[in-house]
Amino acid sequence: MTPIVKRAMLRAIALCAVLSSTPSLAEDAAQQVVPAPPAGKGEVVFFRSGTLIGAAISCAVHENGAKVSSLPPGHYFVLAAEPGKHAYSVKSEATDTLNVQVESGEVQYVSCHVKMGIMAGRPVLGPASEADFKAKSLKAVDASKTAPAASAPTAPAAPVSLAQ
């Protein structure tokens, strides 16, 4: 067997090994399940693409000074929250805060991406769409890295009656 053939076979074997260990996009999309919001609450889906750019920068989400969840590259988490205004923030050399108006029965999407900073990259939160979320191959954040309690609003909404 010539060296060229050997190299080709080794590359083919390596490629097969990589492909077999990587879940398919369809499987990933199926894993990106967003449950319906609990009764009387809304949901915010935080997600982060798996790009290597800024991967070392943390996108851990905070609210009212408390950590809500970690958000590693290529992951997402679903946060159930009370209706009203919420202020979510991410920190590095600077803090970026995004206000979100949570409505009962609704799901909103927020993405975290890393911008260029002075000394290091800066995480930034921004509104996103469901299409953005579905377009990416993401995994759910491990439950151990997510705070169990839903966040209370900084400005609670007035009682809402929903017509069924």
Partner: protein
């Protein structure tokens, strides 16, 4: 006393009796007439009782879609988070084909978040929400109208629809740099709760119109 005097006395007495009798007859007649009148009045009053008043309110159910119009020029460069801006009902609210709230009702919205474009390619961002519309001096609370504008050129994020999606963020006006929302921009929202309105202020049934454009 003479006979004639006696007769005169008797005559006078008779006249007096006659007068008394007359008076009694008149009194009786008056009494009868009065009672008849009272009875007639009572009967008339009984006949004039107004019919029962039917229900006079209409309820605008929660989550009713409404189209509103922003009445201020907003820019991520100059607008501040928390800034209040005026809005107006752009299309009438109809229930069963009947206009219950005509277009033009005023209200207010709020800048939920505003972010200027910055260093490193950071885009300008503008997020707006609607608070309420004033109907008959009362506030009709609104929800689910978020106008989220980002300055980055993410064409795939554009999702403008006439229907109200389950996602509360509208991403519109995608362009580089600062983000602007011009006065006259329309957006969809929903009523936040049941709202009772008097049909006295409701107009006669009109054919629904679906004009209006979302910019």
């Amino acid at each position: 006393m003479s006979f004639y005097a006696g007769i005169a006395r008797a005559t006078n007495a008779g006249r007096g009796a006659q007068n008394c009798l007359h008076l009694m007859m008149i009194a009786a007649a008056v009494a009868i007439t009065t009672s008849a009148t009272v009875a007639q009045t009572a009967t008339s009053e009984a006949l004039v009782v107004p019919p029962p008043i039917p229900a006079t309110t209409i309820t605008i159910p929660a989550l009713t879609p409404v189209e509103v119009e922003v009445l201020a020029d907003l820019s991520s460069r100059t607008t501040k988070t928390g800034q209040i801006f005026p809005i107006r009902l752009a299309q009438p609210i109809t229930i069963d084909g009947r206009v219950v709230v005509p277009a033009g009702a005023s209200g207010e919205g709020e800048v939920l978040d505003a972010r200027r474009s910055g260093l490193g390619g950071a885009s300008g961002m503008l997020m707006l929400i609607a608070h309420n519309l004033m109907i008959d001096g009362r506030a009709l609370r609104l929800r689910s109208m978020h106008i989220g504008q980002t300055g980055e050129d993410h064409s795939k994020e554009v999702a403008v629809s006439g229907a109200v999606p389950i996602v509360g963020v509208f991403v519109m006006f995608i362009k580089g740099g600062e983000t602007q929302v011009a006065s006259g921009t329309r957006a969809m929202a929903k009523t936040a709760e049941d709202f009772v309105i008097s049909p006295v202020n409701a107009a006669a049934p009109k054919p629904s119109t679906t004009e209006g454009t979302n910019q």
